[in-house]
Amino acid sequence: MDPVEIREQFPLLSSHGVGRSVVYLDSAASSQKPAAVLDAMRSYYENDYANVHRGVYALAERSTEAYDNARRQVAAFFNVADLGEVIFVRNTTEAINLVAYSWGLANLGVGDVVVISEMEHHSNIVPWQIVCARTGSRLEFMRVDGSGRLVLEDLDRLLATGRVRLVATCHVSNVLGTVNPVETIVAKAHAHGALVLLDGAQGAPHLPVDLSALRADFYACSGHKMCGPMGSGMLFGRRALLEAMPPFLGGGDMIRQVTLRDSLWADLPAKFEAGTPSVADAVGFGAACEYLSGLGMQAIHQHELEITRYAWEQLLELPDIEIYGPPPEERGGVIAFNSGDVHAHDVASILDEDGIAIRAGHHCAQPLHERLGLAASARASFYVYNSRADVDRLVDSLRRVRSIFALPGA
């Protein structure tokens, strides 16, 4: 995999693009888009556009076929055989809320427990706070240990109470980079009759994810973090669960029959896709899955391991750098850090002056920052278009931060 070549496939970052001199290290927030994805969407709008479902004219049939095809592409990417198990949503957040409102409100009650962890993104915390408050169920936590790993003994202890109905945790942490032992978590939870939801926002873009093998009950992800358009995302759910769940949003396309007093729900996946879907975004998401498969998810993972190891080594050459989370071989392409006592926002602003885009703040993971005793951290994240040269520019610019703030050793 040659990131320099790949970079040319991304209009914004290419040598003709406005970002040709930008070092984009914020792919964990959202990735840039290859031309293949933008072209697929444009072509859909220009050649196949109509609303889907029920239209008997040629354009509507082409549009429906484009939508079905996108679902086949996404399903193939995750090795899901049953297309009814692939629900298109706007993003990871909507996917998790769908499960919380539909499954949660119907299945949780007083005495029941939902387990999440201290390293969750707000999107995998707040929906459970809302639903637990509504249902009288309790929210419990797996802690994060000093090296940024989940304390699985907490899970064992909670599961042993026999009260846990759902374990909801991230596949990969968006701050620590930790790749969680999701197979182990699924096995433990299932052994105690609990379901497992995985927040795959940072897993799907970076690791090969085989949902047939993984056996998680729900898996949520965002297309916009995996080369796809904003407004696209997936909720995978096991058919038996999705069929038993009441619908979430009500409206067109999700019903079989409506009378003034009552409605019958449509089959999967339509049951959970009320209203006109964003077919164009689904088409782009499908194209992104094809694009990533073309590069090879194993190759992408390998590339990120290498660049993360390189970045880790280079960063640790700087005095006073503190990196949070496990060593490079146990993490995705995310490194959160602080440079001496310089505030992360100041770091990011100085880097921005050098054309380097990183994120600073709590990265929607306030409880984790609380746990780490931090107000904020700086975060560099890597993707297919990032090279060692990008890391070198990051490190150079961090030296400038040190010299501006006259840190010892600068």
Partner: protein, 130 residues
């Protein structure tokens, strides 16, 4: 070296003026910028309508802390009416650096806290039918 982190800013950041707390004080207010965790508290002591003493404390980025430090110098000895008339542009002019929209909240946190603190003492504009 940096458009944003000029010497004056760094100087105020490293050597904040009027830093600390006032006990007792006539007014005090604290606020945080939830997105970055910056926190500023301002204590005021009045001599009639005039700010006799001012101290600030908190933690956060160089921009928020330096801006608050400069602000305390601007208003010490001024009246509440002066504080009321102080605009964000006055403070930004004083800072003299190009603040991007994303950093504006950092730069203006101290001003927001100062106004709340002063109004806490006199009542908010529009309160009590005035």
């Amino acid at each position: 070296m940096s458009d944003l982190y000029r010497d004056q800013i760094l100087d105020h950041y490293r050597n904040p003026r009027n830093h600390g707390t006032l006990e007792p004080h006539d007014a005090s207010f604290e606020d945080t910028n939830p997105l970055c965790g910056d926190r500023v508290r301002i204590d005021l002591r009045f001599d009639g309508e005039r700010i006799a003493d001012i101290k600030f404390s908190g933690r956060g980025c160089a921009i928020s802390q330096a801006a608050t430090s400069m602000l305390t110098e601007m208003v010490k000895g001024q009246t509440i009416a002066d504080v009321r008339e102080l605009t964000k542009d006055d403070l930004l002019d004083e800072l003299g650096i190009p603040i991007s929209p994303a950093r504006l909240k950092c730069a203006l946190l101290g001003l927001k806290v100062l106004k709340a603190s002063a109004y806490g003492y006199t009542g908010w504009p529009g309160d009590g039918g005035s």
